[in-house]
Amino acid sequence: MHTLAATNLDLINLAKWIPLLPLIALVINGIVLGAFKPARKFAALVTILAVGGSFALSVAVWLGMGSASEFTSEQAFVIVRAFEWIHIGGFDGFRADVSFFIDPLTVIMLLTVTGVGTLIAIYASGYMAGDPGYHRFFAYIGLFIFAMTILVMADNLLLLFLGWEGVGVSSYLLIGYYYRKPSAVAAAKKAFIVNRVGDFGFALGLMGVFLVFGAVQYDRVLPEAESVYWMQEHGLDDGRGIFSNTIDDADPIFADAELVIPNIVEVGKREAEIFGSDLKKTLLIIIPFLLMLGAFGKSAQLPLHVWLPDAMEGPTPVSALIHAATMVTAGVYMIARLLPIFQLSEYALYTVAIVGGVTALFAATIALCQYDIKRVWAYSTVSQLGYMFLGVGVLSTVGGVFHLFTHAFFKALLFLTAGSVMHALAGQLDMRKMSGLFRKMPVTAILMLIGCLALAGFPYTAGYYSKDLILAEALVAHPWLGWMGIAVALITAFYTFRLWFRVFTGPTEYEMSNEHHGYPSDHAHDDDHAHHGPHEMPILMNAPLVILAIGAITLGFLTHDWVKDMVEHSTAGAARLSEPHSPAHHAAHVEVDPHHTDTAHHDPYHAAHKLVSTITKIGSISMILLAGYFFWFNRKAAERIASAFGLIKRFLENKWYVDELYHVIIVLPLRVFGWLFYLFDRLIIDGLVVDGLLRYTPRLAGEAQTPLARGVLQGFAVVMAIGVIAVLAFVMYSVL
């Protein structure tokens, strides 16, 4: 990539059109095609052109950036201004503009989102064909890509939050796309409500960032966080340095406001006293945990993972695009982007790593025992997201983002091929009711095999490289998490091929379902699928899959150095460079940091890397063979073993009973509480107050007064005047 020309700002300025195109698609599909029925068949074309256009623009921005290292040494980042949004106070007041922060990390995310988005939109144009809500579906896809590009391009936390909520809304709309299906509606609500918990934390974290740093823009917050971190590390300061000046200087939020609104300064000073430097120090520790909560909600990590498997109620392209490839990685992106802030809190990144590692293991064990194809992939997504958090948490942002990038390809491929199977079997997803489909749909089988190999970390596929990078760094930073990650890699290989062998090998048997466009169909004979049985997908749907499959094989060795170069030279990488004592410190730093040329530092990393790649190479292949034995040649043995561990199997099949646990500790208490209020309302409010007190008191009071009302206008006026005088007298008396 070093052959590219130097930074070209004209090309980078095109970035402001990237979110606009999908927004236009949303408007055309939602309003124009919504009103004009005959044109609705063009809905897919509109969205494909818009998202494809965004992808082309993203490529242009990438080319305009030139090589990442040169770009970073010259500009570090470019801010593309679209328009002013919120300005409060003077120059140092609250500012949040609609402007875009372009650095290598943003570009990787943009390429992933719009690239995979385009391919999935093309697939969906075939998958959704004939659906009565065709234009509605593609309008939502436009909304999603719009919000997601805003999310990754935002130059401040508030705009990020806007995109964050935007993808939440489009996720809600698309999960509940089949709105006449109660389970889909329930899943949509569940996703939205569980995300509220995380977003609550995120919103608090955002406010905390503003309180501490006096700004929400990255270009002000991130350098400041880095310098505070640097001072902490070098013992130059106890971390209060930038905050312990006099209030007027230290508090950039309110200092300049004096010129504008005098009253606010007084309030500000009072607040500055309350939020003195000690409290700011505390806030610095808490903020990463609040932001983390948001990331865990959006990316379905452990306490808040329950919504993602249910989100599979949406159409399959949606599961692939939103709930596997792009939206759910927003949490990883957010932590990578705000890494300097996370570093300021001693245990924040360690917590991220632990939650990621534990979630990876937890979800992988569940995926072992699920029978619904899409649910297996859903838990696998949760598990792989756990890997990404583990990577970011051990300061391997390169590993985390690289895995995000490769995962987008192979998991989208897996979901879409699962969609093809589901499409072919009229909605059948239960792998107990299908077998040996290879003969019926060989292309789909091979495509899914490629995806499975990448997910299982088969040597030299995309997933192998990115997973290794994370595991090696985890092994150095926190050995127990590293070993856990390696165990997860083995489980992953096993459950992935359990699915593939069950579905595509063995005797050809299948049971059609009776779904038609998401709803159980009463007259299956109208449906083509019911007649012909499993069949291959049309070329329009398979072409994008082929591209994804090529990516799933080649992206690992092709883009390994490129992703590393990009992420190392983004703000997420810079934070890492500023931490010279990191155990996971390796060769890339040598060029940048001449003080650490002694090779002793790098040995543990290289040793770990060798260890991990050996174990995962051998492990993934043997696990695939093991799965092949159990689910191709000897399914009876698999059943015998499963029934021997019946209790554990039931435990995993029921997803560790997390949903049941939440039902008991959250839903039931709320219901009981509600029931108590209902009783109070019925007996006390309705019974005693309304039917007793309120019914008779006014009536008696009214009847007592009737003689006073003589019906003369002047009489009323006099009484009113006396009333006013009485009130006035009372007020005057109490004031004086």
Binding site: A709, L713, Q714
Partner: protein, 102 residues
């Protein structure tokens, strides 16, 4: 009594207001009663302007502009109502309307 002080204006306003109240309570002709309410308005307006001048800001005066505008609109409405009431009973006596007698 060389200078007009705030108290003079307040007194004028209070007298206007009090006359309005007394007039409204004692007269029976609907139109005269209506005029009395207008008098109360003006009493308040005078007070507001006086305070506005006294405190040196324009809040009171701008408020009076609003009061006058509203009063004009309300006068048009009220006189229309009076005409209506007269048509119904051929009299302007307020005593004629006592349906609210308890």
């Amino acid at each position: 009594m060389e200078y007009l002080t705030l108290n003079h204006y307040l007194l004028t306003g209070a007298i206007l207001f009090a006359l309005g109240v007394i007039g409204f309570a004692t007269r029976r002709n609907l139109i005269v009663m209506f005029l009395c309410t207008e008098m109360m308005f003006q009493g308040v307006a005078v007070t507001l302007v006086a305070f506005s001048k006294y405190h040196g800001n324009l809040d009171g005066q701008s408020f009076v502009i609003f009061v006058l505008t509203i009063a004009a609109a309300e006068a048009a409405l009220a006189l229309g109502l009076v005409v209506y009431l007269f048509r119904r009973k051929q009299t302007l006596d307020a005593e004629a309307w006592s349906a609210m007698k308890g």
